[in-house]
Symmetry: C2
Subunit: 503 residues, 2 copies
């Protein structure tokens, strides 16, 4: 059987290599590629996507899995081998439902759509990309239809990025969260918003990036195993456990933009960099779900990166980097500025309290698009109406509205956004457990040290890659199923103190 | 039959897509990849190389070619379809001789060797990479052995990059060239070398690169269809006819380094950018041979880029870019500086007269390595001895000696260098024909215009991609078989005038 496992690893290793190559093609397209490259890149992405899918769904893999599955059940559940057999079977069963030609068609369409979206966003012109998006919706529906037996058309797409989650489980979770958060948002919203003008003066890009490098290195990002580039939409991408890259965008009139993107994407990257080397080159060498990935990025960005403890260490150094801009700003003023709560237009720039409202809008709209109860041509109006009713703001153009996020324009419609809120909820629960296990974490953060926190995350989350489904990862790491109390508690304490709510 | 041709195009299009993806992986490795990426990249390159080879050698392709070959012979010889069938058959017949496992093994070894070479070169430590090179020699021999029926073990490797050339045809060509050039080198060598100190003061890298951009754009390089990066060894690479990239290296104490690399690589790039759009995405969308590629790069770098006419336009602008460094330098002093003849250590920095001696040393040494008459451990001594006897100089370290060129450390040993001298010879013959066809070319160059020259090259060389073997391209473009007279004539005239040889 060990020979069979080696065969399986070899075949799935090819799939992982093709997926790694696809990631390089995508990264290059997003950060380096000249405009002329788009046509050839679309062809290359489509061909490699199809080959990856063909390899994963080959009858050889199916036969090996049939032979190995009974054997895998005799192995320890959490061994690498048993996990590989288990996860490969799920991947194989899902992938075999999708025809290879569809994979190539979708991939070519996505590459073309991404290119049009970048231009449409720049021109704030939704109609420019509307036909492409309509076709994405159609392709997303066809994709969902390959998976019968789900209750809601979005469910198979959600299941792909956040295994086990469904519209039926997410709606009550989101609803409960909204019920608990809205009073807090209203309380704070009635007060004078914090003054964040100290973040909005001129900060030269190169100096911002130098400070980002400093912060990333302190947190634990190893630039010999990754790099940072500029792209319109920040992202993290892995080509292997020792080459995990990220991107940021920089605004010279907003210090928060690059800084918190760098911390956020570093959070994602640390997850991938922390996967056990034994899993490198295989299909298990990646984060377990979209939500778990966001739990890491948002834990570092918000719970750590927007905390008093963090800036106790970093603020004097930030002042040193920007003496003219920040020399006269107090740490407390800065702390309040980076935690300013105000309903806003752009998800990635939203504060912690209103952030999930952005996610819920997108979640509802993509469900409606898939259901067919909302037409693509009506999407901008629906988007704007929801922003007005939920957040009290209306995007002046589609650039700050429906075109702001890349997800629908480079992926599918469905399952794209729930992970962000799941991640917030998971992150708080995980952090609470980490603190329980290693109480020295907060003191270390004040000293700019992150070994205990990162060590705990590696041990309980990162090293396992995608061996276990997200619900199991949470149960194993925290000893409890996912719940919203740690997250609501975290927000209530932090913003209660900040805004003196007494609660 | 048209349906069969479409099938063939589709199957070979996949090969072209895989090769395009391989090119992106290689480019990233050479210009962007963090050190940690090397292991995963080796796996990815190996897997994609193997898949590309498997696809090319698939029985489906063989069957289609069997069906199509008679049909192809009825089509006009120079039609795209007839050429595709003809070239695909040759590629298929060659590729089917090589086992896919060997392709993957070689590719993984090359990626590992490249990484070790970059460190070995930096450390000037040949033994560090000697075992890797020894294995490359062994793999190169095995590769050659897949092709029986050649006279010399290097022949199949030469035939791969310069179809039709053999050791038996190259040795007399090189020998004749040496006989004609050595007296010229000796004449010039007896004189005081030109003063090139004006190139050796401080030129800030960013300003050098800005001037390179200016020159490249004037020549006709379109940055929306390519980009320029920095790498230890300059190269050009194509991902498709609208994404053709190049690299340079910059030395702040040597103006010539980046400038002539930029012109040289732009020459390569213009070839790939000029391939007919009808061939895009297929196996014909690339230059026809190593020698023809060098004919383009060296034509632009030397015949054009080191001419009086070229600098009549550009020198005042170069002075404008570097007023402190060049304000007091005359155009004639600059012209003599960039055409200084002096035996030197590094091929890529060699003058036009001694350049081919560098090539011949490498050609002879790689033949000896393949024959087994030279052991890898003895290579540095053999290298140094030949430099001493042929050029009268001895490398102080392996960095300026045997480790200077990337070729043996990222490719195979055999067939790596003859293309440079073939390119020089071809380039002069091609330029002579271009001048014959469009006498206005020289006057335009004085005005910084290159439309007529580039137009002639596109029409007679570039557009055809690899439809015809190199000897045919030369015959079609120039009306004559390849001969050394135009090249020897060009050098004799140029350097006779420069050094007042009276000839």
């Amino acid at each position: 059987m060990h020979e069979r496992i080696a065969d399986l690893k070899r075949l799935l290793g090819e799939v992982a290599d093709l997926n790694g190559a696809l990631a390089v093609l995508f990264w290059d397209q997003s950060t380096q590629m000249p405009p002329g490259g788009v046509k050839a890149r679309g062809r290359q992405l489509a061909t490699l996507s199809r080959l990856s899918h063909e390899r994963l769904t080959s009858p050889d893999v199916g036969r090996l899995l049939d032979e190995l599955s009974p054997f895998g059940q005799d192995l320890p559940y959490d061994s690498d081998e048993a996990s590989l057999i288990r996860v490969a079977r799920r991947d194989w069963e899902r992938a075999t439902r999708i025809p290879s030609a569809f994979v190539a068609e979708l991939s070519a369409h996505q590459a073309a759509t991404y290119e049009v979206w970048t231009r449409a966003k720049e021109a704030a012109d939704f109609p420019m990309v509307a036909n492409h998006l309509a076709r994405t919706v159609e392709l997303s529906r066809r994709l969902a239809d390959f998976f019968p037996g789900y209750d809601h058309i979005a469910d198979p797409l959600i299941d792909e990025s956040d295994q086990g989650a469904t519209v039926a489980t997410l709606r009550p979770l989101f609803s409960e969260l909204r019920t608990r958060l809205v009073p807090l948002v209203k309380h704070v919203g009635a007060l004078e918003p914090a003054d964040d003008s100290c973040l909005k003066v001129h900060f030269p890009a190169s100096e911002q990036l130098a400070f980002c490098t400093f912060v990333q290195k302190r947190i634990g990002y190893d630039f010999s195993r990754g790099r940072r580039d500029i792209s319109p939409h920040p992202f993290m991408i892995s080509f292997g456990v020792d080459d995990v890259r990220l991107t940021v965008r920089v605004r010279e009139d907003d210090l928060g933009e690059a800084l918190f993107a760098a911390i956020h994407e570093t959070g994602h990257a640390l997850y991938e960099l922390g996967v056990s080397p034994a899993l490198d080159g295989g299909i298990l060498a990646e984060g377990a779900s979209s939500g778990l990935h966001e739990s890491q990025s948002r834990l570092w960005e918000n719970i750590v990166g927007r905390s008093r403890a963090f800036w106790t260490y970093f603020f004097p150094r930030l002042q040193g980097a920007f003496p003219v801009q920040l020399g006269d700003v107090s740490q407390e003023t800065f702390y309040r500025a980076i935690n300013k709560v105000i309903p806003s237009l752009v998800r990635t720039e939203a504060d912690e309290l209103t952030y999930n409202l952005h996610v819920m809008i997108r979640f509802d709209l993509e469900c409606q698009l898939l259901e067919g109860s909302l037409a693509v041509e009506d999407l901008p109006d629906a988007w704007n109406a929801r922003y007005e009713s939920d957040l009290g703001v209306v995007p002046p153009t589609a650039r700050e509205g429906v075109l702001q996020d890349v997800h629908w324009f480079q992926g599918v419609v469905g399952g794209s956004f729930q992970g962000y809120t799941l991640g917030n909820v998971m992150g708080a629960q995980i952090y609470q457990s980490a603190l329980g296990g290693r109480p020295e974490i907060e003191r270390e953060i004040e000293q700019g040290r992150f070994d205990s926190l990162l060590g705990w995350l590696r041990e309980h989350i990162h090293q396992h890659g995608s061996k276990f489904p997200p619900a199991e990862v949470i149960q194993r790491a925290t000893g409890a199923p996912l719940g919203i109390e740690p997250y609501v508690g975290y927000l209530t304490t932090k913003y209660g103190e900040l805004y003196d709510l007494g609660s």
